[in-house]
């Protein structure tokens, strides 16, 4: 379970203070598929960065699985990101010189898997996202939708407890976006990992179980989604 209490995040640039998060309270149950929406600048991405340990809040607390994240050392945060979390970035964030399978192998090897084991798991993961015939392709040889599926494959290959998706469909056409969202939904149903997805599109949010709207740095609305896609 993820518990967020009274979370503030202020960015300071010179003399200018930008208060982005201004007291967020939020509980996310294990295995929940949560969509976060909001207008540009509302603070949704900032909230994701705090939960995913990519950034540190100005004040407030985040508990993940009962651990208060502000007590973690940098090394422990890195380890938690590697072992518990998976990330899907909106621009895929694949290493251009590495093939699809090598991109997926990267976090597995860092976790201590042997090269052979990592390769087997990466191929299996790529099959799971429908890219069995693309394992040895470089990112430049894949379409946007395929690249994002490699990114999904990399994020799930090590069976994370929490999957973060930061506007995963932002750079995709409608067809590819639908494919990726259906993939996320299927993986969520099969694996029951907590999934937190940022999106601009209400239509895409319908793939989640719950929708949290952020406005002016606080939770504006929090609702269950009926008729999930």
């Amino acid at each position: 379970m993820i518990t967020i209490e009274n979370l503030y995040k202020t960015y300071v640039t010179g003399d200018i203070e930008t208060k982005v998060l201004q007291g967020v309270h939020l509980n996310i149950e294990d295995g929940e598929f949560l969509a976060i929406m909001g207008r540009s600048g509302a603070g949704k991405s900032t909230l994701l960065y705090q939960i995913s340990l990519l950034d540190e809040p100005t004040s407030g607390t985040i508990h993940i699985g009962g651990i208060e994240t502000s007590t973690l050392s940098n090394k422990e945060r890195v380890a938690m990101r590697l072992n518990m979390m998976g990330y899907i970035f909106q621009d895929y964030a694949l290493i251009p010189e590495l093939t699809a399978v090598e991109n997926v192998m990267l976090p597995l090897i860092m976790r201590g898997d042997t090269k052979e084991a990592a390769h087997t798991e990466a191929v299996r993961s790529l099959k799971e996202v429908g890219l069995a015939d693309r394992v040895n392709n470089l990112p430049s040889q894949l379409s946007g939708g395929e690249q994002q599926r490699v990114s999904v494959s990399r994020a799930i290959a090590h069976h994370p407890k929490i999957l973060f998706a930061d506007e995963p469909t932002a750079n995709l056409d409608a067809e590819s976006a639908k494919t990726v969202l259906e993939l996320l939904t299927r993986l969520h149903k099969e694996r029951k990992q907590t999934t937190i997805m940022i999106t601009h599109e209400r239509e895409y949010a319908d793939y989640a179980e719950r929708l949290v709207q952020i406005a002016n740095g606080v939770v504006d609305s929090d609702e269950r989604i009926d008729g999930r896609k």
Binding site: R81, A93, I95, L106, P107, M110, R111
Partner: protein, 385 residues
Amino acid sequence: MVLTFLNLVVLSGILVGLTEGAIRAVREKYTGDVIITAPREKQFIENSPRVIRTIESFPEIESYTARYTEGGTAEANYKTPGRETDISEKVATTFAGIDPIKEDQTTGLSNLLIEGTYLEADDFDQVMVGALLLKRFLDFESELFLTLEDVYVGSKIRVNIGDVTREVTVKGILKSKVDEIDRRIFFSDKQFRTLVGREDFNVDEISMKVVSGVDPVTVKEGLIASGIKGFATVQTYEDAQPKFLKDIQQTFRLLGNIVSSLGLVVASITIFIVIFINAITRRKFIGILKGIGINGQAIEFSYIFQSFLYAVVGSTIGITITYTILVPFFQKYPINFPFSDGILVAPPLEVGISAVLLIITTIIAGYIPSRMIIRKNTLDSILGR
């Protein structure tokens, strides 16, 4: 990196090779591996026949040549009217009486002939003249460096040795970039002995070539132990090197080290820039890698390894080029410096040290920029802030 390595090794190697070429020339063409000369207080090597017998009893000595030397003057164009008093036509020089065959076996003197033919044992009133005594081979003029004009093979010159004056014919002209040859006039020893009254066979210099693989020091010590020290000074080619040459070599070595140090600085700046640009252009990916949980130290290590690889591959190729192409090339085609035939000196130990220094410098130069980029905030890197 290959060029940087070659810059480290070749520039300093040629600087050192410049003097090394001169030292090698003196060894090969004049002193041999071991040279015996008269003690400072003596005019010549006393008991020379005994000394020579001792030399002949050493199996480590492959060949030797004994020389008689005497100071004097040489004149040219003395028959031309109006030039009788022209002092530039008279040069002070050293005359050497040699056994042409033994000299050639030991120093390869015949190979230094640039004009004419080599002296023979029975040649009478015929000489070989060092090129630096002739104006046409000297590309500068100096009051201290007098030369003879219009002297060619077949020209008559007049030699004055003590009270003896003789007219001799130039049979050959020698050029070696070794002053002891290029500023001398050579006679066959048979005539020279008579000319200077050395019927006792006491010579002034004996140069020896030792058998390949034998340390000249061993031969020197053996000769001293045989009891000839009382009549002669025994030196290896290294002992006999003129001090100025040793000083120049030290100076060039120092210059070489300075050039190498500059090369290392250039190498480190180059690698710093390469790694910095590489890392800064990949900052976003570095951020993403850190974001997905890749340890920053692992990324740092990859950049350090990259630098290491550049240095190792560069050094390996550089070493290969040095020993398979450059060193043999400069041995075969030395650089024609005015006072020596410059070769490339690349002792394996020094080349190895250069490679190690290059690798260490490169690793440090690669570590700093990678550390700078990797220490950046992960989120800032991902978002390109």
